[in-house]
Amino acid sequence: MESPPRAPVLLGLGAALVATVLASATVGPVSIDLLTVSKAALNAVGVPAGLSVGVGTTRIFGASVPLPSVSLRYAYPFSFAVADSSETIVRQIRLPRIVLGAIVGFALAAAGTVMQGFFRNPLADPSIIGVSSGAAVGAVAAIVFAVGLPLQAMAFAGAILAAFAVYLVATRDGETPVATLLLAGVAIQTFLGAVISYMLVHAGESLERAVYWLMGHLQNSTWSEVEVTLPAAFLAFAVLHAYAHDLNVLLMGEEDAHALGIEVERTKRILLAVASVITAAAVAVAGVIGFVGLVVPHVLRLIVGPDHRILLPASALAGATFLVAADTLARSGPAEVPVGIVTAAVGAPFFLYLLRRKEVHTV
């Protein structure tokens, strides 16, 4: 089997993502037709038009922090005539949620692809080194104890701390064997699970909110979340993508990779750090959304093969599409359900189907 050509596959997946985003924006309590949605969406497209530097309040994960700020000025090239009500619904309510969902799906699928390749283990997913559990501890603590810090910041910090702890535990003499890393990840996840359960027991009235967060959700997403998450996710993705060839060589085994000129430990550190950051950025805004990072890379590997130069961007785009579609389903029912439930409920049977039909037992 020859690897499929890169450009058509990625263009196709990109088109599917755009189509899904637009279709998703038509769905809701108020039905809006596709043409109107498209116009409103184009109106929302901003291109950076310059920098403005000044002292102002920067919003970090929803908190107002006075900081010297460098902010981008955007220009909006499109201005189609759209009814105000429709424009507001699409632009201020639906699109932030949909775009954030796309970013989160993109980030989780990219991180999952990297983790599966990195660990050479089909069960690896973005949370394998404790990132999700760490984020959950931060978020639940923010909800339950009302510590005053913004939830997203707490979640992000928790995620990075947990990943770093796992890395430190698993590293000896500058070497981080993946098997040790995997086990350390499991141990720390278990421990953090206990911490979360303990906090939930004492959650009192905030229990419902905490549990809801844990299930993964995209409700009440804002453009400011998009503004922080988008550059973080794209930057991290760019780094991961630059290491796609190294990931391929790492699949041959670490000793072999070393003999082929890969600085194995350094590459592992970079991949681990960047994959943790991209996961943390996603989890911090959307909670623990399972299965996207596990299933999407597997499915795409079946379609485009194991070469990360195509697999990584293809997975990321497909992950974005998948999460947008799942979230559309989550919010289109009579009562909205957390999107984490939908991804798992749809993803698991589909994965089982693939498992029966084709070989998914290798990375």
């Binding site: 690897s3 060839h245 000793e255 003999a259 000129g261 890969i262 600085e263 070469d307």
Partner: protein, 412 residues
Amino acid sequence: MIRVDDVHVAFGDVEVLDGVDLTVEAGEFVGLVGPNGAGKTTLLRTVNGALTPDSGDVFVGEDRIHDLSSRAASRRVATVPQDTSVRFAFDVADVVAMGRTPHRSRFSSDPDRGARVDAALERTETTHLRDRRVDTLSGGERQRVFVARALAQDAPTLVLDEPTASLDVNHATQTLALVRELADESRAVLAAIHDLESAARFCDRLALVHDGRIVDQGEPADVLTTEALETAFDARGVVTTNPVTDSPAVTTLPSTTGGGRRVHVLGGGETGASVVGSCWAAGHQVSAGPFSHDDAARSVARTLDVPVETTPPFAAIDRATVEAVSEQIAAADVTVLADPVIDPAATVCRLADDAERLVVVESRPLAERNYGGERGRERYESLRRRATVVDADRIPAVLDEKPGPGRVLADD
């Protein structure tokens, strides 16, 4: 090109390499031979920089390999690993292109890539596999793909760990012949090779590794000796010369708990040769002769270091030889008469008369080998009556039996 200088490597308390010195010059193909667990793979891993020795140095060219980045090291040394199993569905061309990794920069393409990959595929006769998935190949095909990958790496030094381990005879020979060519193009090649005969045939020098040391190195014929088999491999065996390749041929034998008798072999020819061999292989202390100079049995006996009495061709057996053989027969627990030729003086029969226990092996009818006339025939028949007569392949079993009265087990 490669210089290994007093290298020590320990895993925990186990000293895996215990002061290894070795050099491989450009254009030279050096084979590492030795039993499993001797430290061959560990030595190769220190040479390609995967393992940093506890003490000692490895130089490749001018550089200490462990001071180099893995990128720099992999431009100097290309490795064909022992384990070539791949669980991932990469195309063969992709795998070979991975050999270009040290020449590639993250942000620009490698202009030589296509040409080098094509050349490597062609060289290893794997061009027809280029679009196949590497996880669907046979072990032998995969091995050649990995050699191609090492070629694409374009390094002046080549390290191979068991390059022929999963290959059939034909592909093993092809692969080693290719490696030989690569060395002749002034690469320095170091390979661990299990198959001693192939190693001897294709390598310029062999280094015999045993217990973390190089116990012997030099020309294959000097390194591969019966003693080397015994000390390094703990194996009983024979090293002869392969008449076709004129390189050492190694035959190893199962270790035995039987044997231990003193056996003298009379007679000769093909039958005598096989009896000498099987008695020796069964662990008996064998003496043999008198054989004439060009007798097959004599050359086997010489190879096995069995004491053998020799007579010049077409000459009567002289007195001194007869006495020497008589002594050996007297000292032997069993004397085997292997398809003997009866000369006019029936010397063989006279010698056999003194045997404590006599076993006769025949493959030709007596008439074809009796030059002693009626008298010779009678003497032989009378010997035969008190002897155990068996087929050649039964010899080890018969020798292990308790000595008893003569009986005929098999007749021709």
